[in-house]
């Protein structure tokens, strides 16, 4: 099976372990991911915050390159790129005048044919069916599935999963043998693009997320976005400063968890690249993972 693929800038740089794990998992499931030819940056928050047409034209050129290459579906692992591409496609399909204007800017008569698929949809519909029954080492860990903002919102455009309490990632974790916790911060914002310009804010927002996961006894936070990952991993210093405590809980990409369950070498999944080392508590085989630290603090869930 061959699918279009848009890695986006983070996956080629600071989140290359996400790229490595997406590629390794796809290869293990017999799927070929073909990059959109000569792809450009989607413009992220900066473009749509600063200039409306730029915010639409940059993603539109990506769609154009994919469409011209005959791609029907594009897998987009970065939640932020996914959101920009999905929103742009939606806006252009809704507004013919706008579609024409943007087409003129990008010098391509865009029909918006390629469908945009996020990493959870990719895993659920393509990877899991191919690997079911081939789980080599169950990922039997108690984890907090963190979706962040852009995989689920705005629901009217994305139409993906449940808005306040999504389940798709939890379901994937269960299928690879893990134990996803119930918690309150699945879709709270990590601080996203303010990572460099307002690091202290990110420390606080991401800190609340880690704190809830910790109180409820998670061994790791599972993420599906390079921005969420870098805020929870790279910005651990800012988090610890904001929360005034140490956290050793790793943040792991969902594709790394799936890859581990498939028996892929951790180095091929880039697990050595995280700032917060990926180490799990030792526990005797067959023993139930530790529960929440205190039921009162965790609340009734």
């Amino acid at each position: 099976m061959k699918l279009g693929f848009y890695p986006g800038c983070s996956l080629e740089g600071s989140s290359r372990e996400y790229n490595e794990s997406v590629m390794a998992v796809a290869a293990g499931a017999g799927i070929e991911l073909e990059p959109v030819p000569d792809w450009n940056c989607c413009g992220a928050t900066a473009a749509h915050n600063m200039n409306r047409e730029l915010g639409l034209s940059l993603p539109a050129r990506i769609l154009a390159k994919a469409e011209a290459a005959g791609m029907k579906e594009i897998v987009v692992p970065c939640a932020a790129c996914y959101s920009r591409l999905k929103v742009t496609r939606h806006e252009l399909l809704e507004d013919e005048e706008l579609r024409r204007r943007i087409s003129a800017i990008i010098e391509y008569d865009l029909r918006c044919e390629p469908e945009i698929i996020n990493v959870l949809q990719f895993l659920d519909s393509r990877v899991m069916p191919a690997i079911e029954g081939r789980i080599k080492s169950p990922f039997d860990r108690r984890v907090a599935c963190y979706y962040g903002c852009l995989l689920v919102r705005p629901h009217k455009i994305l139409k993906f999963d449940r808005l306040e309490d999504p389940r798709s990632m939890d379901e994937i974790i269960r299928r690879i043998g893990g134990d996803p916790i119930d918690w309150a911060f699945k879709t709270e914002c990590c601080g996203a693009g303010l990572s460099v310009s307002k690091t202290e804010l990110v420390g606080r927002l991401s800190g609340r997320i880690l704190e809830d996961a910790r109180i409820r006894g998670a061994e790791a936070v599972i993420v599906a976005c390079p921005m969420c990952h870098s805020n929870l991993d790279l910005r651990r210093g800012a988090i610890e400063k904001a929360m005034n405590r140490k956290y050793d809980m790793p943040a792991i990409f969902i594709t790394q968890a799936v890859g581990l369950a498939m028996g892929i070498d951790p180095a091929k999944l880039g697990l050595n690249r995280h700032m917060v080392p990926v180490k799990f508590r030792e526990r005797p085989a067959g023993k139930v993972p530790a529960g929440p630290e205190s039921p009162a603090a965790a609340g009734e869930v």
Binding site: C9, S10, E12, G13, S14, S15, R16, D38, W39, N40, C41, G43, A44, T45, A46, A47, H48, N49, M50, N51, R52, E53, L54, G55, S57, L58, R61, K65, A104, I105, I106, E107, C149, L150, R153, P154, H155, K156, L163, E164, T187, E188, C189, G191, A192, G193, L194, V196, S197, K198, T199, L201, L205, L234, G237, N272, R273, H274, M275
Partner: protein
């Protein structure tokens, strides 16, 4: 409810311009406060999102200028929580984009937002130079613009040894088109992207 007279007044106002340009109906907000209750940054804003809507409803040059000069519109992260919870389905993030563009166009950006805006500019420059985001260049450029020279110096070597930093930018073949996209977009709302 809206009479013709009201309508005429509305188009001259900022709320009217928002409706016309983005389709977001500011007048439909009934101040339930759900947007502000769920906004992860409400505590950091000078006016929480529901208050921005109230100020726009009341209108008048003074309040409108306060909105355009607010820190709120820049610290808003487009997390979309407000929009997904608003009982009136008011698309606050789209409205925020419009307010940012107007604030840039009129030169009214909040001084407190200068680092956020500098970061956006460095980000866009990186795309203009290579077609992609070159992270090392972005951070260096931002540091030079903001003079926060020492920020993150401890992180960089660690990232390098983890293989997370590309020291050489990659330039795409379609760069001339990207440049044309920038210059054509500059005429649209918001900042001159050239």
């Amino acid at each position: 409810m809206s009479t013709d007279a009201h309508h005429d007044k509305a188009t001259a106002s900022l709320a009217g311009a928002i409706l016309e340009q983005t389709g977001v109906p500011v007048d439909k907000c009934y101040q339930c406060g759900k947007c502000s209750a769920g906004c992860p940054l409400a505590a950091d804003m000078d006016y929480p999102p529901s208050l921005i809507l109230r100020m726009l409803q009341a209108g008048g040059p003074e309040l409108e200028e306060k909105v355009l000069r607010s820190y709120t519109i820049w610290v808003c992260l487009t997390c979309e929580t407000c929009y997904s919870r608003c009982p009136m389905e008011i698309d606050i993030p789209v409205m925020m984009d419009y307010l940012r563009h107007e604030s840039l166009r009129l030169g009214m950006t909040s001084p407190r937002a200068k680092d956020i805006i500098r970061f956006h500019r460095s980000f866009l420059d990186s795309i203009k130079y290579t077609g992609r985001l070159y992270e090392v260049g972005l951070v260096v450029d931002y540091k030079a613009r903001s003079m926060h020279l020492l920020q993150d110096v401890k992180l960089a070597p660690k990232m390098y040894f983890k293989g997370k930093l590309n020291l050489i930018p990659e330039t795409i073949k379609g760069l001339p088109l990207i440049r044309r996209i920038f210059s054509r977009s500059s005429k649209a709302g918001g900042e001159d992207a050239r």
